[in-house]
Symmetry: C2
Subunit: 144 residues, 2 copies
């Protein structure tokens, strides 16, 4: 019924922008800016996901710590309990997760390995494609 | 076919967090943080929309100007060409706009007056409700 995460990753690619836990807020802000993304996955020395650092974390740190926030390491500001999904999850699953838990980014993992990331915009884009396909089907049905 | 913006605003409310153009980035970050939102609508002395300031603007300013960004006024960092919609627009219209133009927030306006704001999360939440209704209809149909 609902589009799979696999098919979205097939279309958009599986590269994920990551960095280590000692990156400063200032460096992380530059990475977000240069890549035009809203989240960076933080990986430990073992290559596993150790957290996620988002543009909202930048805002909250600046709000709380002012100029002192710029030199802080992302490890002290990131979310460590990262919700992930597998490639066989569906868009509908992710919409529920994003709405209920207020996440905008969900890393995709396969056997402990990071294989992609899905953002709320990817979900909406996929929904537009679904609507287009539905419209084409209705047209074809009417045309007989 | 698609849910109207009016029905979303009826459910979620029409209050909009706004501020003036002389607000500093530091103050704006606190407003975003305290209200747990990603965007503030900037209104001029005439009460009309003069811009929108988002969490991405915070990140980009910190990336470019470092600690100097904190005292900058939002008027120098905000987006001034603000895309708005009316209450009779639909969720599908907004999904298209958000995906193509990369906006996550669209202020709602009626005769030059700000009457609400719709975020990408509001759109996704409305879609979940749609899916639930569709499922109920299919169940009712099968049950005869
Ligand atoms: N026209 C298009 O193809 C797309 C438009 N958008 C729009 O852009 C705006 C921002 O998008 P959001 O989804 O809120 O967040 P975002 O800015 O974080 O995501 C933008 C794109 O970057 C990718 N991305 C995010 N973090 C990444 C990382 N660490 N490594 C690799 N890729 C990463 C996402 O999967 C998405 O495709 C929204 O208005 C959205 O509607 C989003 C995705 C695709
Ligand atoms: N469970 C729920 O009811 C909702 C959950 N979400 C989730 O929260 C996360 C962040 O949401 P986003 O939509 O990306 O952005 P956001 O954090 O800016 O929006 C959150 C809520 O605040 C409202 N809002 C935003 N700016 C406002 C302003 N200036 N004045 C008044 N209200 C304002 C939005 O309309 C939305 O209802 C996402 O993961 C999303 O899926 C978003 C909306 C509703």
């Amino acid at each position: 019924m609902s589009v799979s995460i696999k098919s979205i990753l097939d279309a958009k690619g599986r590269d994920v922008v990551t960095t280590g836990p000692n990156t400063t807020l200032s460096e992380a802000a530059k990475m977000l800016n240069e890549n035009r993304i809203g989240a960076i996955v933080i990986v430990g020395a073992d290559g596993r996901i150790s957290g996620i650092f988002t543009e909202r974390d930048v805002v909250n740190a600046v709000a709380k710590h002012g100029a002192d926030s710029l030199g802080k390491q992302v490890s002290s500001l990131m979310t460590t309990k990262v919700h992930r999904c597998r490639e066989d999850a569906t868009i509908n699953d992710l919409m529920e997760l994003m709405t209920q838990r207020r996440f905008r980014h969900v890393p995709v993992e396969d056997k402990g390995k990071l294989t992609g990331i899905i953002s709320i915009g990817d979900v909406v884009k996929s929904r537009i494609r679904e609507i287009e396909l539905e419209a084409e089907q209705i047209k074809a049905y009417i045309a007989g």
